[in-house]
Symmetry: C2
């Protein structure tokens, strides 16, 4: 096997109550990548279509992630990476994570899978470090493992994968405004009240319980964030109206996707998720704000192999 | 049916990472109570054996909890309550919760169970309010429901019951010192760092996941508290030594039971839990500190009916 073509999915991090620890994998939103063996050692990004991103290996998140893997596992060949970006950078649905995760998944496959998907997370995190300054795992973990992921701990890295209830769908609307992760981070307070924190960990426990018991209502009741959302949501136009309309149209709950500006909702069933999408679009249409809209089943498998040569 | 004799169990609240939201029910540590119908309306505490507690209904936690129930469900008779206290007040294993929960369970049974066990929680919480000033549910919920309980939210009250993995045992050591809940509360900081809070909700998620998947190691890894334990543990003699010896003797994890001074450990299997108990006792023997020690299976059923007349 010399070449692998893969689909690397978009992901929603934080999921309201699970700031910095929870994430979930989408099914039909993502990049395509081709990774192939090369006689020339090292890693080269040979093509990027659909985004203006650096080709230099050390400045590209997929390059950096790939190098982190090859630092631990010597290969007798080099690798070329082509990236067909579909996920917009800065959308808040794991654009950099998809590139980082796809690169290490592809190289691992071409090497005969010396690493488990879980073991690849730490390499992909190096791409995230380049992108945002912090080596977070809440997008790369669901991209690599599928379903929902919980980062129980970063030191040591301990990631729990949780299968999605079968009827769960995500709606994601991306208002076309620029919101840098670093700006979205800088508005956060470094100290929070113990009372809010207790409410938050009650909801994290509730969300995890709801996922295991496939209790859609409990999932919805737990999608609540009184710490980050009230602060960050003011950076996102129409946030309160979008959230309200999602609920009114049957969504289990909604919140900021990652650090925004995308807003996600979870629903039981495709029909409800599409109804929620329609209602969300209507708000931004009225506001004359350009947007992208996605409706996706939860992807329980993560990255998909499209072709092998 | 005119009389019910019941066993009302001790409980461990907080469980390290789950401050104010998690609790678990013990199997062989608890009070006995007799609740009987009476021709005289109202609630009377007719006997308390084993503790110096007020007999006046409005000053007794079981009396207050019983009145809260009868406030919502009129009865055509009155009730007498006898309490045989085995759980020491101020031990940190839910002494007041056992009395409150037992009273409402007994009256509900004599009335033909108009309320579900879950619906009884809010009445029993009124007893907790009398005991500690706050109507918390993290002891009364596991006493009434059995297993582990998660208080996802207080407003509205939303309690999730989680079955215990079958081989889980608790060891609890109670150093005979006085530590008032109000003192243990007053040392807490009202604000905490966002970083610690994130670590904490990662662990709450991990503990809930470990319980559902019966992953004993994950349960152990998640029994970690970097917010409350470092502050409160200085009030408990020998805490660090007890914690260290528990781990060395095979416990999955350990921490402060409720607001202390009892220290709990969870272990896989009775043998390990007993070994941990022996090692804990040795520390307090060396320190010449009097103590009580308990080893108990997790009780998945909560309050037990001992006799009906």
């Amino acid at each position: 096997m010399n070449e692998i073509k893969l689909f690397s999915p978009a992901t929603i991090a934080n999921l309201s109550c699970g700031f910095d620890v929870l994430g979930v994998c989408l099914d039909n939103v993502g990049d395509e990548m081709i990774v192939r063996k090369s006689d020339v050692k090292g890693v080269r990004i040979t093509k990027i279509v659909g985004a203006d991103l650096p080709l230099e290996t050390e400045k590209n998140v997929s390059g950096v992630a790939a190098l982190a893997l090859l630092d631990e596992m010597e290969a007798d060949c080099g690798f070329e990476i082509e990236i067909y970006k579909k996920i917009k950078a800065g959308s808040g649905i794991g654009s950099s994570a998809a590139s980082s995760a796809g690169a290490v998944f592809g190289i691992n496959a071409l090497l005969g899978n010396p690493f488990s998907a879980a073991a690849l997370v730490k390499f992909a995190m190096q791409g995230e470090k380049l992108a945002s300054g912090s080596a977070h795992a809440d997008n790369v973990a669901p991209a690599l493992l599928g379903g929902f992921t919980l980062v129980r701990s970063y030191d040591p890295l301990d990631i729990i994968r949780i299968e999605s209830p079968p009827e769960l769908y995500a709606t994601v609307i991306h208002p076309q405004i620029e919101l840098k992760t670093s700006d979205a981070r800088s508005v956060l307070k470094q100290n929070i009240s113990l009372k809010s924190a207790i409410a938050q960990w009650g909801n994290v426990g509730g969300l995890v319980a709801g996922l295991y018991t496939k209790d859609y209502d409990l999932i919805g009741r737990s999608l609540h964030d009184e710490i980050v959302e009230p602060i960050r949501s003011v950076l996102i136009p129409g946030f309160d109206r979008i959230k309200k309309t999602a609920k009114e149209n049957g969504a289990l709950g909604s919140g900021i996707s990652g650090s925004g500006p995308s807003i996600f909702a979870l629903s039981k069933g495709k029909e409800t998720a599409e109804k929620v999408a329609g209602a969300m679009c209507k708000i931004y249409d009225e506001m004359k704000l350009p947007y992208e809209i996605h409706v996706s089943k939860i992807n329980d498998n993560g990255i998909k192999v499209l072709a092998l040569k």
